[in-house]
Amino acid sequence: MEKVEGKVCSIPIGPYHPALEEIAFYKVYVDGERIVDALIKPGFNHRGIEKLAMQRSYRRNVQLFERVCGICSDAHTTAYCVAVENCLRIDVPKRAQYIRVIEHEANRIHSHLLWFGVAMHAIGFDTLFMHSWATREAIMDVVETLTGNRVNYSVNTIGGVRRDITPELAKYIEEKLKIVEKGTLYLIKAVKEDKTIKARTSEVGVLTKEEARKYCVVGPTARASGIEEDIRKDDPYINFEDFDFEVCVEDTCDVYGRIMVRLRETLESIKIIRQALKNMPEGKLIADLPYPFPSEDIGRAEAPRGELIYYVKSNYTNIPERIKLRTPTFVNLPATKPMLLGNKLADAPQIIISIDPCLTCNDRLVVVDLRSGRERIVLLQDFIRRRVRL
């Protein structure tokens, strides 16, 4: 702990810290128990994926982008495939799109339940953490029987999907969905009725609607601040226009709102999967692929954490010329600063977790020097050697 000015102390959180699931570095300035300023420094996770992607063929990149983040792995491959399909004008068969929808929503359910567990763990309510993870295992079973792997599915491919859903499998999914639905309803009931959860989460980490607009937050974080936006509705991809579902919005603007948005969304996702299973059209699983030609386009998807954008530029080879991704945490992370200000230090972990930060997909390896406003890249060894002052 170092003294800054007068009564204000700075407390470093991370990079390895029990409150954080991943490695990142937060510096929180406190006056007594109140947080007065915060500095966020990610970058430990940077792997240079965009550079790798420009050395591999379109097909092989699917496996690479899936590993950008293991929690929203399906959202990444979907957005990437949509981007390439838009770019090379590929018409994907409808059956493939429906199978994609099922996986996409199963992925969302698993991600939201996982997040809910972690959020409950952050406020010290471990019983609900265990409950939500136990419920989550049912959807993991669905994913595993559907795709063969629990985390990285590799089912999406350019122009379609690689695995079919048989009627027996559909029945199995229905069964498991019932367990998930029951579990989620129980969690919602617990959150609504439990006084300790309310006390720890309501009016904590407030992000007003104006601030949310200013920081351009996306996904559940925006919806919990009363902004109605959902890429599935606003710009339907993979045939989301066929499905009937509600965009869950809360206007409490606090951590409690973010919990409710995600839990309600889980129920909506179950609804979408049921519709997809019921109305599954017949047909091919994969489209005929053209030879690549120079073009460019983007693909957008509503990942569990918010809007995900892929940009693809092609040329005459089977290797993309440029790929750029914009992940939801990249826009949401700066918004943790206004959320943290004025709150108690003990609430910091749950506020940071409330945006569902996924640092694996966020890290850009850029340090902004606040004093001079210069941007530069600093590695730790240089840091020690040259004694760079930060």
């Binding site: 490695i23 996770n45 899936e66 590993r67 993870w133 295992e137 060894q381």
Partner: protein, 136 residues
Amino acid sequence: MWLYHAPAGGLCNGCDIEIAAAITPRYDVERFGILLAPSPRHADILLIAGQMTKHSRERLLRVYQQVPEPKAVVAIGSCAISGNVFTTDNYPLAGTIDQVIPVDVYVPGCPPKPEAIILGVVKAIEKLEKRTAESI
């Protein structure tokens, strides 16, 4: 038996969540007395998942040094073992884990299933016991 789980830097989280899944009701290793420790100073076994980056290398070494002897290291996932799809020579990466710290047990998979992780930990416990017996 206390475990400390340290993500090595560049990883996709898949291995992390599978480690967490191993302590939750379906697999529940806590009933065998295996618990996650909040700090490396309390740990017996270090679980490392993910690809090491230049940025996190020194920090990881420090975490390793903080674990008291006798200790065992389990590398989890293809990233930690071989670099997986990210290769080992891309610009932000610093090679595989075993080039920096000694690894006792390797658990391959992308990600390995929780069962495999538990098996890896059991193997590490065996090694640890042998090591303790030798040192006495």
